[in-house]
Symmetry: C2
Subunit: 154 residues, 2 copies
Amino acid sequence: MISSTGEYALRAAVYLAQHRDAPQTTAKIAEGTKVPAGYLSKILQQLVRGEIASSLRGAHGGFVLLHDPDAVTVWDVLTAVGAAPERIETCPLGIERHEGLCPVHRLVDDAVAEAQRCFSSATLATLVSSVDGMTALCEVAPALGLPARGGSRR
Amino acid sequence: MISSTGEYALRAAVYLAQHRDAPQTTAKIAEGTKVPAGYLSKILQQLVRGEIASSLRGAHGGFVLLHDPDAVTVWDVLTAVGAAPERIETCPLGIERHEGLCPVHRLVDDAVAEAQRCFSSATLATLVSSVDGMTALCEVAPALGLPARGGSRR
DNA sequence: TTTATACTGGACAACTTTATCCAGTATCTC
DNA sequence: GAGATACTGGATAAAGTTGTCCAGTATAAA
C-alpha cells in the first residue's frame, strides 16, 4: 500500500511530533523508529525539502517538526517523500481519444482516492494521541499499565 | 497503489473476460492490453497457477478464463499475482509485547482494508460491462461514444 | 579560534521488480 | 507421423528501490 520509504517517513514524522522540545539527531530518530540510519538521513532530507521538518547543523543540532502536529496530515508526509499513492489522471494504456477513465482504471482510482481521503484526514497529532493505552510507533504506554487485551482489533 | 504486475494482470483478466469464445494467445492479449508480451507470459502463468485462467498448448491454444467473470473479483486477480495490498497483521517495528496495532499502523491498515473491500466488491463482470459508453481497457464503445476516427486502434 | 557535533551531498552496493530472450515441450491439424 | 503452433521454464538484463559509506561543510560550545 505504501512503500518502505513512506513508512519510514511517517515513523520519523511521528517521532518528531512526539519530541518537539529539542532537535532530534538522525541517530536518535533511527533508534526510536527502527529505521536504517543511513537511509533515514535521506528521508529526513526529503522531509526538509518538503517543508515538513527543518534541520539544524552542529552540536545539539538535528531535526525538528516545522509546524504543529495537528497541521500536518499523513498525506503531507507521504507526499513529501513521493510515497503518496497517485491518482490516475489519464489512461495508462496511452489511448487518448476519450474523456474519463474506463471501468478498470476508474475502480483503481477510486481506491486511490479513498486512500487519499484516509491519509488526508489523519494528522500527526491524531496519531500521537494515545489510544487504548497504545502510543504511536507500536510502543505501549508504560504509565497506563494496560491489561493487554486484543480488543482494539476489528 | 498497485504494482505494474497487478495492473497487467488485471488488464489481462479483463481481456480474457471479454473474449471467452476461444483461447487467446499471449500475443493477442499483449496487443489488446498493451502489456509487454514477454512479461505478460509470466503473469499469465501466475494466473494459471492461481486458478484464474487455464492454458491450452498447441495450435489454436492460448489462455481462457477458468470461471465466470462474475465469479472472479479484482482482488482474486491481484492475489494470484501477489499484487494485492497486504493487511498489517503484526507490528512492523518488531516490537512484540502488545496486542493490536499502534495508531500509525492502524491507520495504514485501515486504508489497506478499504482497498481490499473496494477490490473485493468488483468482479471482472462488473468491469466488462460498459458504463457511459466506455468499455474496459480504456476503449470507447464505438456505437455510443465519440466520433470514431480511423487508425487510433492498433 | 579550536574542537566536537551533526547535517549534506555524492558515490556506490544490494536487492527487488520489471522485462527480454530462447530452447524445450505439449498439442493441434493435416 | 510431420509440421506448425503456442505455452513453459530458465537464464539474463535493465530499471527502480532500498541501503551504506564517507568526505565536506555548517554550527554550537568552550
